[in-house]
Symmetry: C2
Subunit: 315 residues, 2 copies
């Protein structure tokens, strides 16, 4: 596992890691439990390691920070072989290298229960972009596209469905990549007040936009017709018998960044996308709180925005 890195005075092996931090330290933890957040059918052990780290790195990205350090707790059932454990570490190490994250601590315990991977990631930032800060008149923006992880999971569950973009969609579910560069770019724009609030889409576009609106004390209108549709999503949704919207609004685990930005950002969106290294799309408007929280569906109806969130394996 990558254990060194800038700022690591002492890594694994003493009572604690010793770190020399930057201005602000960001800290987040998230757990992945077999049977709740993943199954062995859908994810290889390496995928599990990758995902468990990625979901935490994404939280750092959503603050505009740089992920730096990880502490990893593993609960290992007797049924998990040592090869699987090595693969899990391998997947985690692959993602750690991608983002320059040093694994500085951890512990492994036996468990009579399912495999679980709990990770704390520490990051650094000069300026943290919070969920609160959105103002009426701001635009609502998203990086990349939403719904691809939900589609990928459906395809992993239905290996006989023919979809041209199958592999891309499957990988979106198995190996999500946190938008770290984009988070930093928007973090820089937040210092001048252009970007006003940010969150990552772990629960789903609708659900996470509601979190942001709630924290900011604002209303919001999301235009579902503006959501960019991932390649193959329509085909997969048709095979699944669900509406494309359902996955794009309610399917979580995409780990895109959802952010709000002042009107002046619109003119600089192309430049921001170039700095972010990913396409961005304006998908809605921030409203005064009294005007409520709405989604305009692709069919033209206006409906209350609901947390049609992702409840992991129970759909």
């Amino acid at each position: 596992m990558p254990g060194g890195g800038a700022g690591v005075i002492v890594g694994i092996g003493d009572d604690t890691a010793v770190l020399q931090p930057g201005t602000l330290v960001l800290a987040t933890c998230d757990v992945q439990v077999e049977g709740i957040h993943f199954t062995r059918d859908l994810c290889t052990p390496a995928d599990v390691g990758w995902r468990a780290l990625a979901v935490n790195v994404s939280d750092i990205a959503a603050m505009g920070g740089v992920p730096r350090y990880a502490l990893v707790s593993l609960l290992i059932p007797a049924s998990a072989g040592s090869a699987a454990l090595e693969d899990l570490y391998g997947g985690m190490a692959e993602l750690a290298r991608l983002h320059g994250v040093a694994v500085v601590g951890g512990n492994v315990s036996a468990t009579p229960g399912p495999l679980a991977v709990d990770i704390t990631v520490l990051g650094e930032a000069e300026h943290a972009v919070l969920r609160r800060g959105a103002q009426p008149g701001d635009g609502v923006w998203i990086t990349g596209c939403a719904g691809k992880a939900a589609a990928g999971r459906f395809l992993l569950e239905h290996r006989d469905v023919a979809v041209a973009a199958r592999e891309t969609l499957e990988m979106a579910y198995r190996r999500p990549v946190a938008r770290v560069a984009a988070g930093r770019a928007f973090g820089n724009l937040a210092r001048s007040g252009l970007v006003t609030a940010m969150i990552d889409t772990s629960d789903g576009t609708a659900s996470d936009l509601l979190h942001l609106a709630e924290a900011s004390g604002v209303g919001v209108r999301l235009d579902a017709a503006h959501l960019p549709v991932p390649a193959g999503l329509a085909e997969a949704a048709r095979a699944a018998g669900v509406a494309v919207d359902a996955w794009m609004l309610g399917g979580g685990e995409d780990y895109e960044l959802l952010f709000t930005a002042a009107k002046a950002f619109d003119a600089r969106a192309n430049e921001a996308a170039a700095a972010a290294g990913v396409g961005i799309t304006r998908i809605g408007d921030v409203l005064p709180e009294r005007e409520g929280r709405w989604v305009a569906t692709a069919a033209g109806e206006q409906r209350p925005l609901r947390a049609a969130g992702w409840d992991h394996l129970a759909r």
Copy 2:
């Protein structure tokens, strides 16, 4: 739960906590799993919450640091009622208040397996006392006394055994208190080179002394006759049919500090104990590595020091 505190810019509720750190950040994580590290028979839910935080705080103490922030992951089986969950948080909050620790992040997940509490604690230090640093000629010292948690656990398993100090011993197991003030005092002495290495006794006196000797590349001789005997330990050991030594050397979970100190420390031991707020005892000597690692038993034999460690619930 205590969530505020110095240096907490943003606590629970955003994608990550935002913290303003001191000079060095210490980071450690440790998990407690039902059936592996505790059982419902021996510990109340409040005990579980207390212990899960205490074991991490103890790691910060063992570096000479000040515990500051905690991130808590809970895996909750359906069988755990909401009252138990509240009690668990209550016990954790009690210990957090005692040490001035702010809970700045966390998550709760369902699990088809056992209850598990995984905590990351972040601390601060001006100077970190590592396990490496012990030099031949140093003394080996311990705070408080060892074996009390093992005795306490035996008494919790055998409620009919009459021992006067029962409650104190039981509480040593159920509610260990990390030696934070002592850790800071020894940390200050480490800056001038008087204290040379430190570790907490989570695995057991023998096992943790071996960890320290290994990290320092030194030999060691531990004089078992010098280990202070906790009140009631001899009585409880007699009832259990085990040697007093076995618990004092091999029984873990005491969370005392085991440290090495230069010869010049001996003359200042009383002053150091006063600053530490706990009694300290010289229990051995650091040797050149080639002279080996030994324990002189109370009976006068010299035997190889073995990691007669604590393997949690499997004895």
